[in-house]
């Protein structure tokens, strides 16, 4: 499919009026061609048409069902062995007890516009208990903790690339028992930007990121490369 054909089909593509094969062909062309800057405007306009429809309250059972699935799919919080918990917890606290380390990193941190923050803040309507904490460690970034939503959003930059197979794993510490619970993996782009949205239990006081040999580690490998402490 050439550029002229794309132009001819642009309106139908934006409205979703192409058969599957043509739609796929246009999508494939747009992935590699930058000569159709108007397409974004057409797509945005078409997307706006959804707003012209009257809102309809969905059945209450839909929300219950959906939340049940989400809860079932959320990563389980696993308790790590006491020995690992203690050592890790002490190490993390040691990081925060070092003003020299904290001040040095603070000077290197840029002010970041975090898309995920914008999303979460927008969802709160100003009513949620929210903390934004800069991370300390080998990268710059921040963690947004929405305690009412039991959600944390991490967005960090300048992460070092990892050898193939290794992963950045996020851990949470809680007031209740100094338990390190795996919260999930940080998804990292080739540019070194890492993001993650994590379901959090009550009483989170710290988040840390470690480098693990594979997803699913049951205890963190010390030392953490990033930490963030919440009040």
């Amino acid at each position: 499919m050439n550029c002229d054909e794309i132009e001819e089909l642009a309106g139908a593509y934006a409205l979703g009026a192409l058969p599957d094969d043509e739609r796929a062909a246009v999508s494939a062309h747009l992935e590699t061609c930058d000569k159709h800057p108007e397409m974004a405007g057409l797509l945005a306009t078409a997307a706006s048409l959804a707003l012209a429809v009257d809102e309809v309250e969905p059945p209450a059972a839909l929300k219950s069902r959906l939340m049940g699935i989400v809860e079932a799919e959320a990563p389980p919080q696993r308790t790590v062995p006491a020995r690992a918990r203690r050592g890790f917890g002490e190490t993390v606290r040691g990081w925060f007890a070092s003003p020299r380390l904290g001040y040095g990193l603070a000077s290197a941190m840029a002010v970041l516009v975090v898309g995920l923050l914008a999303w979460n803040v927008s969802l709160q309507g100003g009513g949620s208990d929210q903390q934004v904490v800069n991370v300390s460690g080998n990268a710059a970034g921040r963690v947004i903790y929405l305690s009412d939503e039991k959600l944390a959003v991490m967005d960090v930059h300048n992460l070092s690339p990892l050898p193939e197979g290794k992963v950045y794993e996020v851990w949470g510490f809680y007031d209740s028992a100094n338990i390190a619970s795996p919260l999930g993996l940080l998804q990292v782009t080739t540019a070194g930007t890492g993001t993650g949205t994590m379901a959090i239990g009550d009483g989170l006081n710290q988040i840390a990121v470690t480098i693990e040999d594979a997803p699913g580690a049951v205890s963190p490998t010390l030392p953490p490369v990033l930490t963030a402490k919440f009040s």
Partner: protein, 161 residues
């Protein structure tokens, strides 16, 4: 997720219901849409306008798939063949959030252009089906679609300033 649902579920369900005319089918579409967005939350732009645009675009795409599957399936008990929309749903489009402005822009279109938008966007018809139904050349239908979108876009831009 719950906050996202509370904010967008009525719009999403309204769109799916308008397109499918069936509450159960609309529920399926909305449920699968929210789940797919939740599962892909680390890969999509989640600023407010862009997230709304992405989610409603997925609802629209899934509803179209369900409509077309319904047409193509003789056995009505078969589940619709819902496709993976992640491959070609734009993730960075930011939509206008003013519903009244969109309605005004839509009603301001010439009737022949509004008709093709209605058949394409809200009824999930392809450009070929529309051309056949209206007994028009396919090129005319494509032109009307493009003209309609351009006019809506200009109208929305004008109301935003």
């Amino acid at each position: 997720m719950e906050a996202l649902y509370d904010r967008l579920s009525r719009q999403a369900f309204g769109l799916a219901y308008r397109m499918l005319g069936d509450s159960h089918a609309a529920e399926d579409v909305v449920q699968e849409t929210f789940l797919s967005v939740w599962r892909a939350s680390d890969r999509i732009d989640t600023t407010r306008g862009k997230l709304s645009s992405y989610l409603l675009t997925v609802v629209h795409r899934r509803a179209i798939d369900a409509l077309r599957s319904r047409k193509a399936t003789v056995d009505t008990d078969s589940a619709p063949d819902i496709k993976d929309e992640r491959a070609d749903v734009p993730r960075t489009v930011e939509m206008v959030m003013d519903a009244e402005a969109v309605r005004t822009a839509l009603t301001g279109l010439p009737e022949e252009q509004r008709a093709v938008v209605d058949m394409a966007y809200y009824k999930g018809m392809t450009h070929v089906e529309i051309a056949e139904k209206l007994s028009l050349p396919l090129g005319t239908v494509k032109s009307r679609m493009r003209l309609a979108l351009d006019k809506i876009r200009i109208a929305l831009a004008g109301q935003a300033t």
